[in-house]
Subunit: 468 residues, 2 copies
């Protein structure tokens, strides 16, 4: 949907389709031409006409050489803004091409949480190089964040926060914000702490501004404000922020002392990245961090190869099943005609149920202890759908082949759909219960498993119908 | 992931797995029992012990009668907080069970944008009932928002904003915030306007607080701040907020006058809802608005029936294809053994490519004009994967059946994978180009289409190999 990246100067309005059309008329081809011609004045003109996030998008799409070329043409202030918009993978791509002083400067000026995420994903040699170039204060911040496990809140929080004491007045708290606010990532949610730096609640800058200057912070603070431990899972913390509609979530250590804040823009990114990963897993791909357009053929193939291999091995089960029923198949060749239709439909019904269950788990609508209720409901859904499809298959099968084959297909469809929906919906819940990411129960996995069992059902039914 | 819904009093910390375990020990079963026993003191105790968002979650899971029962037990302030956390579908469920004075009170106190979204999805009769009960001021706000098309920014913006004039000083602007801020949804991003209410940029409350009191707003404002028209697509606007890391996006009319703000929590919800819809579509289901656990069997079946029907009709193509090759099949029955493996693998490769392309389009990494580059890359990815799978199939096929059949399968796999990846990745881009939601190109649709063509490839190859 990045087609909406609005060229500056084109007013953002009217029908939104208008700017999609306007964009189509302004091709990126121009930029690619400028890069290939190494046309520096042209590139500078292009950069001056685009917003930082548009530049970041082009850097993400470009290869390493062009990305560095574009980045080096930015003036210092814009370069930092653009850099902050990049994903860690693209940040590394740019940094690897910079000379020492520029490299150090960019790294030193990054926010500690962004830096920790970059280093967490980078090779060890690169990480050491970065850490060596930092000032002691920034190195200490980063080392502290890197001490937290991957995917924990600690990796994503900003340690540069302004906390206020519970005994202050609104006016005194505002004075603290004025004094220390310039260095903090956000000043809209302020943790309220006691003399031991323990978390007592939060107060919003809005309430500080709107309250009478002498009001005690303890009174206007929200003592029920949610908080998380730095070791907590960051995706769960992000969902908690979404549920409670807060702009920042205080992060504490095991002794309830405030360590930092998880801000909503980071939570937003965490959820989007989690959704992208879930979607990739749901199609049987390994998630990877980079930009789709800058991934190489080998990278794309690698992300998909493992599951395709596992699935083709699982699919040999279908060969075994068919071998068992080879006699039935040889005596009624017409049965073979409906194999793709039958296993395909079963696979689709299973994929629908699996996808619904994985998503419901991800957004918190289903819990693992709901497994029996889910199984019973989905089994009935499968029966209803199977009956409907059976009626269609009976008509089609009779018209195309004959009524006995059609009857076998129809009866099998009811059983296969009920089975597929039940298996597809419960497997993600069971996976989660035993500690496996439910998104691993992908549509292709369910399809492949349902294929073999569907064939068994089909041939058993056919033997009965044909009296074999 | 709502397993993380932390019971109050349990400290949020240590390993996050700890509270998942803690939650498993605190079953919702208790609440269900309390509801079924109509145990009012018990329910009041439960409500007192849980946070508003936890109560909202239980109301979303409950049927209409229990949802209303729970809601009516809340005191007035908490009731509103809980109500705001509900989705429009669940809000309607609760409202329909309230008596007139409570109904009017809740509706009157809702934020105008939430109310507009509720009414936009509700039946006309219900909507008229709500509008009739509103005060003139709130009715006017809501009617204005309802005037914008569905899925437009206008439906989601908050009209209750504090704007400041460009000629003010920071101190004067802060005075405006103090005077009018109590009614506004947010005061952290303030649109800066001229005397004709035209948008000039934004100023953050942070900058107002941190600047010297006499600094002119015009100087500390961000004149490059992004903005959108009220008629723009809300998902695009939400992605723009994500790209530019703003907490609120000013919304303007066609004459550039400020109408309101789109806030980040609404943008967050829009993106999550869009992801949920895309995921449902990707599995060949029609998205529906409700909670998974409160949906009935009929509702779930309806969301899936249309696509299953279309897909089974498309799958009759495979029957036709097999009929054409029935002679080949009759003379080499062993070919039938590999049909599910071959079409399954082709389908998986196509589904992976389609899912990657749909997601890359959704997050803006791919544009429709990239179609040729994408096709060429994915074709090569398919060839690489196909070659790898062919090697595996050659071994398995030779062991299980014989080398001629295995060779037919292996050669077909290379062609089928390349074809599936190319088709799967380009179809979403082409769909978008002609104005169809790319997520409609679901994995099951690609799988079904690839099935028929895969069979043609397989039998043509087999005829060559067997010299038929």
């Amino acid at each position: 949907m990045r087609d909406h990246v609005y060229p500056r100067g084109i007013p953002l309005g009217g029908d939104w389709r208008e700017y999609v059309a306007a964009m189509a008329a302004q091709p990126t081809e121009t930029l690619r031409d400028l890069l290939e011609d190494n046309d520096l004045p042209g590139l500078q003109g292009w950069l001056a006409e685009h917003q930082p996030y548009e530049v970041a998008d082009e850097i993400a799409r470009a290869d390493a050489v062009h990305a560095v070329l574009l980045f080096r043409l930015l003036d210092k202030e814009r370069a930092l803004t653009v850099f902050e918009e990049l994903d860690p993978t693209d940040q590394q791509k740019v940094l690897s091409g910079l000379r020492e002083p520029a490299f150090r400067d960019v790294v030193e000026r990054m926010a500690p949480d962004d830096r920790a995420r970059l280093l967490g994903e980078a090779p060890a040699k690169f990480a050491r190089h970065v850490l060596a170039g930092l000032s002691p204060r920034e190195r200490e911040y980063t080392a502290a964040l890197l001490g937290y496990p991957e995917h924990s809140v600690g990796r994503y929080m900003t340690p540069e926060t302004v906390a206020v004491r519970h005994h202050m007045s609104a006016d005194e708290a505002l004075a603290v914000v004025r004094r220390k606010g310039a260095d903090a990532e956000t000043v809209y949610t302020l943790p309220v702490i006691d003399d031991r730096r323990c978390f007592l609640g939060t107060v919003s800058l809005r309430d500080l501004v709107l309250s009478a200057p002498e009001s005690p912070v303890a009174e206007i603070a929200d003592a029920d404000a949610p908080q998380v431990r730095a070791t907590a899972d960051v995706e769960e913390a992000a969902r908690l922020m979404q549920d409670t509609n807060v702009l920042a979530l205080p992060v504490t250590d095991s002794e309830n002392r405030v360590l930092g804040l998880l801000t909503i823009d980071d939570a937003f990114e965490v959820i989007e990245a989690a959704d992208t990963e879930d979607i990739a897993r749901q199609s049987g791909s390994t998630p990877w961090a980079g930009h789709y357009m800058s991934a190489s053929v080998v990278e794309l193939a690698r992300a998909r190869a493992v599951w395709l291999l596992l699935l083709i091995l699982a699919a040999t089960l279908t060969v075994n099943v068919l071998q068992v029923f080879e006699d039935t198949l040889a005596s009624v060749t017409a049965l073979a005609l409906f194999i793709p239709l039958l296993v395909g439909t079963g696979g689709n019904a299973g994929a629908q149920a699996a996808t619904a269950a994985v998503r419901a788990l991800a957004v918190g609508e289903v819990r693992t202890r709901d497994v029996l209720r889910v199984a019973w409901r989905e089994c009935r859904v499968g029966l209803v759908l199977g009956a409907m499809l059976a009626a269609v298959a009976l008509v089609i099968g009779t018209l195309l082949v004959d009524v006995t084959v059609a009857a076998s297909v129809a009866v099998s469809l009811v059983a296969v759909c009920a089975w597929a929906a039940t298996i597809g919906s419960t497997m993600p819940l069971l996976a989660k219960r035993v500690g496996i990411d439910p998104a691993v129960i992908s549509a292709p996995l369910v399809t492949t498993l349902v294929d073999a069992t569907g064939l068994i059902i089909y041939f058993l039914v056919a033997r009965l119908v044909f009296g074999l």
